[in-house]
Amino acid sequence: MNVEVAGVTRRFGRTKAVAGVDLAAGPGVLGLLGPNGAGKTSLLRMLATVIPPSSGTLRLLGRDPRGYAQRKQVRRRLGYLPQSLGYYPGFTVAEFVEYFALLKEMPPGRVPGAVAAAVERVDLGDKARARLRTLSGGMLRRAGIAQAIVNDPDLLLLDEPTAGLDPEQRVAFRTLLRDMGQRATVIVSTHLVEDVGAACSQVALMDAGRIVFHGTPDELTARAEGTDAAGDAPLERGYSAVLAAARHAATTGTPA
């Protein structure tokens, strides 16, 4: 397993953003679904080693990221796209991606080819020399994805990666996800259940800091059977049904 999470909790003051999450994920694409404030981003930031858990244990790519040396090894093989991606306006797309390739300690000789490949894979080849300040929001998002995949990561963490992408780009991005998932563990936090249905082999649904469902998209869809859960698509109805059941269980104290 590339990701092993056991009893992980993360507090911010009195707020418990992540409350005892257990999760394991191997190669493939895992969609992380949930409403606003469910704890998806906090969980992803812990997996990205941005913040440490308040309690519980993490093992990423077979290593314990609490130690600096192991954390550094994880980071070399990690790709991460934060929810709100900042950028250096004066950098070109190629420089931005190259900059992060170098920060990820890629062998310098491999950097040029890797940058070229990453930029092409997000379809920004013709914008490679454009300054980031001149790009649209969707293009910036794609530049962010390019920096995340430039080191061909074994663990790719994407927080709302399709925000701002046009439909054509979203379709292409799902293909990219499936492709990356053949070898690496890809965890995608999203609100868009259609992305999950199209690209993910596994889905985890979070609510109130806990994972209330972990299975395949088909299994999530099946949860809607026999309920009057709202939603335009089967997966949406499954999502709504699971959330409703989890919240009912939380208020009544019964298992979901």
Binding site: A48, P82, G86, L102, V111, P112, R121, D123
Partner: protein, 553 residues
Amino acid sequence: MTTATAPVTAPRAWRVSSAAGPARLLRIELRRSPMLWLLPVLAVLFYVSTYRPAMDNPPFWNIRSGTIQSHTMLVFAPLLAGAGAWVGSRDGRRGLADLVGVTAVPRWAGQVASWAAAAIWAEALYLAGVAVVYGVTAHQGAWGGPLWWPVTVGAATVAASCAVGFAAGARLPGRFTAGLAALVVFLALAGGAFAIQDNATYAQIWPLNVQGPFPPDSYGIFYPYLPDLAIAQVMFLAGLAAVALGVLGLPAGAGGRWLRAAAAAVTVAGLAAAGTAVGLAGTARVEPHGIVIPALHDAASDRATPYTPACSHGAVPVCLQPAYRAYLPEVTAALGPLLGQLAGLPGAPARVTQVVVTTVTSARENGIGFGGPVISGRPPVLYLPLSGLTLPGEGNAPAAQFTANLTGQDGTAIVNDLVGLPSGAPAGTGVTGVNFELGPRHAAQFAIANALDRVLNLTGPWSVPSGAHPPGRSSGAGTGGNGAAASGSGALAGSGAGARSGAGAGGGAAPSAAQQQAAVDRFATLSAAARHAWLVIHLAALRAGRVTLSEIP
């Protein structure tokens, strides 16, 4: 987005370099550093604050280098601190802290690369400015060679300013951090100026302090430039930069244990260097040719710089230090009438030699006094300092002003010396603040001196005070031989040897003002030959105070 998984070859137009990782990182930072935008501003400021003032001064290496150190850094340091803060706060302002914080390269290393890029550009511009000023100075035929210590202090100030600002920006990212950093550095420099004027010894470390209050010709021309203070300043600034950069590596997220230990070591070493430098500055002494720090001082620097003087070939040769060669015609012309009038008199100078001001007096406010011209030796030599005089071309001053100042200040002192009026001390020891008192026996000396001043047009008309005491030649030589303030910091309280104020309690009856004026008028209206003839006979008695007013023809 494409679905291709095979490696893609980049179009040739944007293929990236395969240079080594850290070098490539620095290269990207160099190419995109915000400091690039500041360079034109800095270039203009360098021209206004340094180049023009430097060119308004004579082409002396010490003056030009001192201008670079003090003028440039006063303007550059706050701006560079602000720019450094802007660069340092980049990740925080741009919302990239998370992303750059989870890369394998320690955050500290990335930050040092960003700082280095900013500092390299600033240093490049600074050194380019230095090259222009020094190049022009060399082209103007300046004597000697360029001084590099002031330039080194300036370069260290550039690096330290960037580092301090960068650290502030990295630790407190925000849109106002840059402005605040610039303001704080400016206030620190201003505070240093006040501290050094208050003679706080430790404040000598102030980076804009070139050689304390010394006139430019007392270091780097007649004597070697003393690097003691500059060494302490470079130590201080390097320490400051090390502390600023080192503290960035101390937080847990900055890197691993070894890297943080290295950052701690850099911080401690920086603190030690800065503290030691301040401590060394506390031991500094103001000595005749610069600031001496005993622990850093090389005694070999105390030896005068050998030179072959540049001399005129008149009846009374005038010899100047070769750095002043360009001013030999003006000095010769200014002293010519006076020397011609005095030629042949017993004790009159047979030669004029420029000397350095060597007097160090008041410690308070770093004031130093300058000795005026002195005639001594056999055959008599007029030892003439030129410090404090506005040289021709300096600040657009015309040659006539230099001539007027030289005759007005030094000419009267020379006459005083010749007729035996107390005029200070022998050359080389310099006594300032001469407040001697005059008695009636000096009345004849005063009359002769005043008459000579009048006929030689050394000073404007003056009034002879009357009363119970002999008059003081109060105005003409009042400013003293070299009593003007020198460049650099600190106002100088000079009172030259020519100052003749007040009246003393001499013995005997004092002549009236009318008697004195009559004697002056009589002697001044004599023909030059008659005056000369009388002086040849009576000068010795006059100097001894044995001539009365009535004996003056």
